[in-house]
């Protein structure tokens, strides 16, 4: 079912009841999904202002610049929004050595689900 949000060119992000919006981070070089986290309005504003990805940490209840301790920051190449403006897709150029995941891997998605178990992919 289509609605006015689908075709508008007016930015009107729809944050959820907790004030958050999901953000999918992909690498500009090959579209690989690197990670997923949430932004709040402040994190979104800081990301736009600085050109560097910021998130809101639910566990620490604070704004954080991705990579502020690890050095694995994300330079924003472009930000897209989905049809109903409640999800962000952020194309980035990873800085640092390119290990987006806190485990030291390039991407947080390194295990495949095989029936009831996981298998390392990368």
């Amino acid at each position: 079912m289509s609605n006015a949000n689908d075709e508008t060119l007016e930015l009107g992000l729809r944050f959820d009841a907790q004030g958050l919006i999901p953000a999918i981070i992909i690498d500009q070089s090959d579209n690989a999904v690197l990670m997923f986290a949430f932004m709040n309005a402040e994190a979104f504003a800081e990301t736009q202002r600085t050109g560097v990805v910021h998130f809101y940490s639910r566990s620490r209840a604070k704004l954080w610049m991705k990579g502020e301790t690890s050095g694995e920051t994300f330079e924003v190449v472009e930000m897209l929004v989905d049809c109903d403006q409640d999800v962000l897709l952020v194309r980035v150029k990873p800085q640092g050595v390119g290990n987006a995941c806190h485990t030291g891997r390039r991407s947080c998605f390194y295990r495949e689900i095989k029936d009831k178990v996981l298998v390392f992919k990368n």
Copy 2:
């Protein structure tokens, strides 16, 4: 900060307080992000059982097979889980004519955020 969830090969999905887990859908042909939605435990189980992507609709409060009315179903190629097992990445082979978005576009992410406005990308 690393934890036991990072390296385990035991499947232990972490659904949120509403019983949901985010699912990012990418096209197996080129990794393009097609859409984003939520699964609950039942939707995940049905997706595994049938090999076709199912979601949980928060607005309709029910399980649905993506494409059940449009024909734009997603055949699962593989499912990955992130480091802390609270996000799914599903690689799919789109069926139907390949318009994943309800607006008739291939992907839900067809508008770029340019400062305070949106610009059509695709």
